[in-house]
Amino acid sequence: MQSRPLGARALGLVAAAAVLASACATNSSGGTDGSPGTCTQQESPVITLAAYSNVYDVYGKLISNFQTEWKDSHDGQQVIFQTSFAGSTTQAQNVVNGFPADIVALSLAPDVQMIQDAGLITHDWTQATDGGIMATSVVVFDVRPGNPKHIENWDDLTQPGLEILTPDPAQSGGARWNIVAAYGASMRGHVPGYAANDPAAAEKLLEGIFKNVTVMDKSANDSIKDFQSGNGDVAITYEYAVLAAQKAGLPDEAVIPSSTVSIQTPVAVVDEYAQEHCVEDIANAFVKYLHTKEAEDLFTSVGYERSVNLKQAKAGGGGTYPAVKDLFTTDDLGGWDQLQSDTVFGPDGAFTKAQQTVTG
């Protein structure tokens, strides 16, 4: 082996430096100077938003409006938004794992709770306006034109041979809303053939439905996209996703069952990262903006969401939003904590047992 200068070791160091350099490059744009507790103001502050999968349209619009307004009222300061859209639970897990989101817009409160439990959210976000909820929708059935399989209510989903699309509850918040809607409708006695207040009946309903589930995508958006690609007979999804599809000219049809859950989607500032990136005030301003009338109108017109007010959501209105016979919230079922850890998703929960039976 010929003698070789120690330049070889230098090469290794250069390589390591390259990797660290990319680390510094990405950090400098984030406004940190490396040590917690201090932060440097940026000329063009960057806000990182982690949102759930299918609200890219409305947040796209909300963000651009906010950016314009901020520019006008803050001496031309340009706020940059970097967005990420994925299954709600996936996003929450990522934030807990270090994803530096300044704001999270998730599809259900437990996912925000997860981030709070990890110590990243230090304020009580549920005390904000409307309990931190931005907008609501309802769980509906997305069916083929003319509803050839005659799906009107939850029990119709159990008909043999039907192919149902619903996302994976471990990754998607929408998936859990779907399950809670079925559970709640059964428990409240609005599903023919399933007794009210009977957990066993609810379990049986979930079993019947999940026997027919053919695709469990990783996000609500993936699920409806698959349905639109021609797979399955029905997709259980958010009402707004179906309305957005109709707006885009697709032939999706929404069927609202007699009883369904009001999907309440929360937004919260992630204190730890917002402080670290020196964007806490802008982040709070954005969240506040989401509660303004202008934002509300955008949620309705672009996002096809219903009002945060339950009575108004139930009544619907404006021709686009049919009234819902029985619209309930998770509070009516004992709250998310109970649903998560006990009655539906707990070890003896209706869904857990139903899934065990179906997968054998």
């Binding site: 082996m1 990797v19 990405t26 950090n27 040590s35 982690a50 970097q82 994925a86 794992n97 270090g98």
Partner: protein
């Protein structure tokens, strides 16, 4: 032992032609249905939208960013795996120490690992509760959901390519030329650049082309570690996923086709390098 002499029904050469033709046809048909048809499919899907789809897609800042991020990751990966790959190849073929064959086995390990598992490795090291997480987060350095983790996983996956191409060449060539050079008074650096590097160049280029193609196309590990932050950690492959997610299928097909074309160009380069390498080894 007497073997039966068969009297063929057709003349021997005709029969052989038919058999050859048949086998060739099967081969062509299989490759046609399995490989060529999908290529045609994506070309059709991407070109359906016409020129306007192409221009509007490639002009989007998100798309430009995505290509840029893919480019940065590929460039760093290519640099690290090439330089250090040559070092490892030299050590494997020229150095003698206990455990050398173990080292060689480890080089092959990334080939057996699903890219998803590489993503899991990164999360287990740098995510919350990870072995290195406290050290990095105390210093405010972002590894996961930022470029560093994306670079690291891509490097892991690409490590074997350069090494596996250079090692056989080094083994075939032996040390005689280098020894001659140093006997003639050349310094180590001179020997390396003028002799060694020149000898391994086609194998090296082959390995580099493979590395580049693989780095451009990485999705499994990147999906787990990047967070898909548009404009920051979204690679070209991640953009394609998002385009299909967000009802922008035509754009997705366009970017997918560009990646396919780049890969095919690299492939043609790979084939050319491979032929040159074989030719040189034979002489």
């Amino acid at each position: 032992m007497s073997a039966e002499v068969r009297t063929p029904r057709l003349s021997g050469s005709t029969r052989r032609l038919l058999v050859h033709g048949g086998f060739t046809a099967i081969a062509i048909l299989y490759v046609g249905v399995l490989v060529v048809a999908p290529l045609i499919g994506i070309a059709w899907a991407a070109l359906r939208g016409g020129l306007s789809t192409w221009t509007s897609t490639l002009a989007q800042p998100d798309v430009v960013h995505a290509y840029l991020i893919t480019g940065i990751i590929t460039a760093i990966t290519f640099f690290v795996t090439t330089v250090l790959g040559v070092v490892v190849a030299l050590v494997i073929t020229r150095d003698r120490f206990p455990g050398r064959s173990l080292l060689s086995a480890f080089v092959d390990l990334p080939l057996a690992v699903s890219p998803v598992i590489v993503g899991v490795m990164a999360v287990l090291l740098f995510g919350r509760g990870g072995w290195f997480e406290p050290w990095f987060s105390a210093r405010g350095i972002q590894i996961l959901f930022a470029l560093p983790s994306m670079v690291l996983v891509t490097i892991f996956i690409c490590i074997p390519f350069v090494i596996r191409e250079v090692v056989p060449v080094l083994q075939e060539l032996g040390v005689s030329e280098e020894e001659a050079a140093s006997t003639l008074g050349a310094s180590s650096w001179q020997t390396f650049f003028r002799v060694t590097l020149k000898n391994i160049r086609w194998g090296l280029l082959y390995g580099i082309a493979l590395t580049t193609a693989r780095a451009i196309g990485e999705i499994g590990a990147i999906l787990i570690v990047s967070g898909s932050i548009t404009g920051k950690t979204e690679t070209a492959t991640l953009y394609i996923l998002r385009a299909f997610d967000q009802n922008q299928d035509p754009s997705g097909y366009v970017v997918a086709l560009t990646l396919a074309l780049v890969s095919i160009v690299l492939l043609v380069g790979i084939e050319a390098f491979k032929r040159r390498e074989e030719r040189e080894l034979r002489t």
